[in-house]
């Protein structure tokens, strides 16, 4: 590396290798909120750079079935996203969907070798069972999945409607499981665990889900025309078409209630309403699901509960009572209290109850049952009261999310591995410190507001006729622009040695976000919870004491420059130009793509993650290694910061001064940063190349004249 002669007694110099490899980045709130601990910041950043395949690889590292999560994840990451404090959170789930579709997730081929003899039985093929099978196969165990229904997938198949999760996606994942050598037995209900052990299975994972709807406990609940949500969705999803009549009411406020209502609409019901006993604020269903349901014309009656059902003339008369909200209960939600004398009746053809579900355990399993018919397990080992029997998923937690089920499956696989390999199970530790703290109002003020870009969805008219997928996928430019909104929490700048810092206050004075501050003792601090990793201070710090927390970010420009200078030296096109181009604008949004595609041979591009990080030294080095011209191309108007262009021009000015003094024309270095439009910057660059070509020709002729 060209700066290898730099070392210094005062700082991190002592160990050159350590300087480039230590990782001080903090875990961002999105990752901390994700049950799977997916490296969200990383893949969002890769999408922002247009590196979709790499983004998919990061996603697949942390998630066995990313395509499924891309459709149905409840995205707690978005709730935790700190961009929410500025405008709206990053659309993480939609970006994941973009990455799996454009990155080619369905083409990924999964393989696994069998390296162990101990057979493992998985009872239930829901997300927890599938994840457990996936990871156990990866660990080399022979796995059999038993499924009572005719098709694999558990709630993914029989619970979630097709318009939310297309069946092809699920089928692809199931096929991949089979590809990995998982034995899958459908239509096989396991009634006794002893039988499984007799069949030679050494460990059993129970993941039978929570398919039994909870009863409302009101008069007339068993009348014909009343059906529970889980059964209704199961019948529809397995291909039956229950006849519902014209008017349907659904009781409940969770995702199952919304799913049932929207499914009823798609089966031809004219008037669908939802009865929910609390108000909208308490509704546990996903906000976007509620919105979409309202768009489709579903009527939600809040603060309403049924108290009696009567069947009369092939119709149901549902007596309801209005509620008001009282004191908060144990769950923190305000308890609904009936208002006296507020009863009213509604006539419906079908009443669907969806007020919760519980597991339904075959008694022969002989496992200890706890609250709400769930299986009792040790939270660390996932073991039940029976030796070799593990349990997870909704069967243990009660109805929960797909992601939580995947986590249970993954954990179960490693615990079963521990058990079969006779290892003591270790509690999992958080690898990295989690970034805490909110953005300060003064930081928020300085962050450019960029609205959240939602993926397109089908219009209510186009989607309610059948079970077509409601949400469409981003196009390339929208996805990249959405991903670029990420604030890169926890990977910002840090002062690597306070001793070496001269406390010159440069960082404090130039930070576009006013992040660095002086503490009471006069030491400068860069709070990790405020920095958004633009890198401006890093390229300006006179003591070179500020670095980015992630090793890749620190090395990136040096490595890329080194690489292209080597390639340029080996290339047959001798006169060459080096361009430092914004990686986001280059591949990501395509603003600078023309520089890459239309450039003539001899133009070498160093992609950089924001041109603010390009130092004057980098420019000089390119000249030293023989470049005839050097340019910097920023993404211009799309840049997240206002003063990048100013700083770049300062550095270019400094380099021009040196060029003049060593006898080179100052116009050999240029910055294209301001308000760059697609055509403008491309044309300007053409002119620049022509100019450099002219200078090169003149200097060659001059040399020949001299000799």
């Amino acid at each position: 590396m060209y700066s290898s002669t730099t070392d210094n007694v005062l700082g991190y110099h002592a160990d050159g290798a350590a300087k480039s490899s230590f990782d001080h980045s903090l875990m961002p709130p999105c990752q901390a909120a994700c049950p799977l601990r997916m490296d969200i910041r990383e893949y969002v950043d890769l999408v922002a750079q247009g590196r979709i395949m790499e983004a998919l690889r990061v996603i697949r590292d942390g998630n066995p079935f990313p395509s499924i999560c891309a459709y149905v994840c409840t995205h707690p990451c978005e709730e935790a996203c700190r961009r929410n404090q500025v405008d709206k959170p990053i659309a993480v789930r939609a970006l994941k969907r973009f990455a799996v579709e454009f990155g080619g997730d369905r083409m990924v081929y999964a393989e696994a070798d069998t390296t162990h003899n101990e057979k493992v039985a998985i009872v239930g093929s829901g997300p927890a069972g599938m994840a457990c099978a996936y990871y156990l196969r990866k660990l080399g165990y022979p796995v059999t999945v038993f499924e009572a229904h005719s098709e694999v997938g558990g709630m993914l198949r029989v619970g979630i409607p097709q318009y939310r999760l297309p069946r092809e996606v699920l089928d692809t994942e199931v096929k991949r499981l089979a590809q990995m050598g998982t034995e899958i037995r459908t239509n096989t209900r396991v009634v006794s665990l002893d039988l499984l052990f007799d069949m030679g299975y050494k460990a059993v994972f129970i993941t039978i889900g929570a398919h039994q709807s909870i009863r409302m406990g009101i008069e007339g609940e068993d009348s014909p025309g009343v059906i529970d949500g889980a059964t209704f969705l199961r019948e529809v999803n397995l291909g039956l078409k229950p006849s519902l009549g014209e008017r349907v009411a659904v009781v409940g406020g969770g995702n199952v209630a919304i799913d049932a209502a929207r499914t009823a609409l798609r089966l031809g019901a004219r008037k669908v309403s939802i009865l929910y006993r609390r108000s909208r604020a308490e509704m546990p269903a996903d906000t976007s699901e509620i919105e979409q349901a309202l768009e489709e014309g579903i009527n939600i009656l809040f603060l309403t509960a049924p108290i009696r059902v009567k069947r009369r003339n092939a119709r149901l008369s549902v007596t309801c009572i209005k509620m008001e909200l009282g004191e908060p209960d144990a769950s923190g939600r305000r308890q609904p209290v009936p208002i006296k004398g507020s009863t009213f009746s509604r006539q419906v053809d079908t009443l669907i109850t969806a007020i919760g579900q519980a597991p339904q355990m075959p008694s022969d399993f002989n496992v200890r049952i706890g609250r709400g018919s769930t299986i009792q397990v040790d939270p660390v080992t996932l073991t039940t009261n029976r030796v070799g029997v593990f349990a997870g998923g909704d069967a243990v937690t009660g109805p929960a999310t797909v992601t939580q089920a995947l986590v249970a499956g993954r954990l179960a696989a490693s615990r079963i591995d521990d058990y079969l390999r006779h290892r003591y199970p270790q509690a999992e530790k958080e690898a990295r410190e989690v970034l805490k703290g909110d953005l300060l109002p003064e930081t928020i003020d300085r962050i450019r507001k960029i609205g959240r870009l939602e993926p397109p969805i089908l219009s209510p008219e186009a989607r309610t006729g059948d079970f077509k997928t409601v949400e469409l996928v981003y196009d390339w430019a929208t996805a990249v622009n959405e991903a670029r909104r990420c604030l890169r929490c926890g990977m910002g700048a840090e002062i690597v040695s306070q001793d070496k810092c001269a406390t010159c206050l440069t960082c404090l004075r130039i930070c576009p976000y006013n992040v660095p501050r002086l503490d009471a003792s006069g030491t400068i601090q860069i709070p990790s919870d405020q920095c958004v990793a633009c890198g401006i201070c890093i390229a300006e710090c006179p003591a070179k004491v500020i670095i980015l927390r992630k090793p890749y970010d620190r090395r990136q420009i040096n490595d890329e420059l080194h690489h292209i200078l080597k390639s340029a030296a080996e290339s047959k096109f001798k006169p060459f130009i080096v361009g430092f181009c914004c990686q986001y604008g280059l591949f990501g949004t395509g603003t600078l793509a023309s520089l890459w595609r239309e450039s003539v041979a001899g133009i070498w591009i160093v992609p950089v993650l924001c041109v603010a990080r390009v130092e004057a030294d980098h420019l000089l080095h390119a000249f030293e290694m023989g470049a005839e011209g050097v340019f910097i191309a920023g993404c211009g108007e799309q840049c997240a910061r206002e003063n990048t262009a100013y700083r770049i021009n300062q550095r270019v000015g400094k380099v021009r001064k040196v060029l003049t003094q060593v006898g080179l024309q100052p116009e050999r270095v240029r910055a294209f940063t301001s308000g760059a439009t697609y055509l403008g910057i491309s044309k300007e660059l053409d002119m620049f190349i022509e100019q450099i070509g002219g200078l090169y020709l003149t200097s060659t002729i001059m040399q020949e004249v001299k000799s």
Binding site: S3, T5, T6, D7, N8, V9, L10, K500, A502, T503, C504, L505, T506, R509, I510, E540, C541, P542, A543, K544, V545, A616, D617, L620, H621, F623, E624, G626, K654, V658, Q661, V662, G663, L664
Partner: protein
């Protein structure tokens, strides 16, 4: 803080011309703060010198770059003794004091100044420094409301303003404030205008001979004090 600016590249190249191996030595204190000779500037100069060498085609120099915490203390300089033994000259990006401290510590080594030490001053804003003190050794700031006429008046007069003041600016430059007008305004604000009405006799230059030395050692009888 001491403020300096880096010499231009041509002058530096001329100075180092006779020497093959040159140590570019930065200083981690004032020179870092005033952007003249901290680690970044050392590295930038290094790149510039190598570029110049590559362009002129006479590549005889090899460079080593380094930055010490403070060049004006012998203990810090001692830390680089082994590096100095490998070179033919040191180009110091420390202030004039640093250059001399190095020269004193390494009697057989050529030490070259890489910066022009300019003044003692303060940062006005990011990247702008202003002179504030002339180190005259006879501070009168109490009488002039904390504004130094010796440094900030072009003439350095003690009884101002002179007739060259116009609209609060100095006749030498329209962009420069007249120090004595500033003093007047500040005294007025502090309600100490009577200090304006006094005559200040000429300074006694004999009382402050150069070079000066200050010692914090307590002198005891019979001991020489420098």
């Amino acid at each position: 803080m001491i403020v300096a600016e880096q010499k231009n590249l041509e002058e530096i190249r001329r100075m180092i011309d006779p020497y093959q191996r040159v140590l570019l030595l930065g200083c981690g204190t004032c020179m870092t703060v005033c952007d003249a000779g901290g680690e970044r500037e050392v590295s930038f100069l290094h790149s510039a010198l190598r570029l110049a060498q590559a362009k002129s085609g006479d590549g005889i120099h090899s460079f080593l770059e380094y930055t010490v915490k403070r060049q004006c203390d012998p203990e810090f300089i001692d830390l680089i003794a082994d590096k100095v033994s490998e070179v033919d000259a040191i180009l110091s990006l420390g202030c004039g004091i640093g250059v001399q401290a190095l020269a004193e510590r390494f009697p057989d080594m050529s030490v070259l100044p890489g910066v022009n030490t300019s003044f003692m001053g303060m940062a006005k804003e990011s990247g702008v420094w202003d002179e504030r003190c002339a180190a005259c050794g006879d501070c009168r700031l109490e009488e002039t409301a904390g504004i130094c006429p010796i440094t900030r008046c072009t003439k350095g007069i003690l009884n101002g303003p002179c007739a060259g003041t116009k609209n609060g600016k100095c006749e030498a430059s329209k962009d420069m404030d007249c120090a004595w007008i500033l003093i007047y305004k500040r005294l007025e604000r502090l309600q100490q205008l009577e200090k304006m009405r006094r005559f200040y006799p000429p300074r006694n230059f004999r009382a402050i001979p150069r070079p000066k030395r200050i010692t914090s050692k307590v002198s005891s009888t019979g001991e020489e004090n420098g």
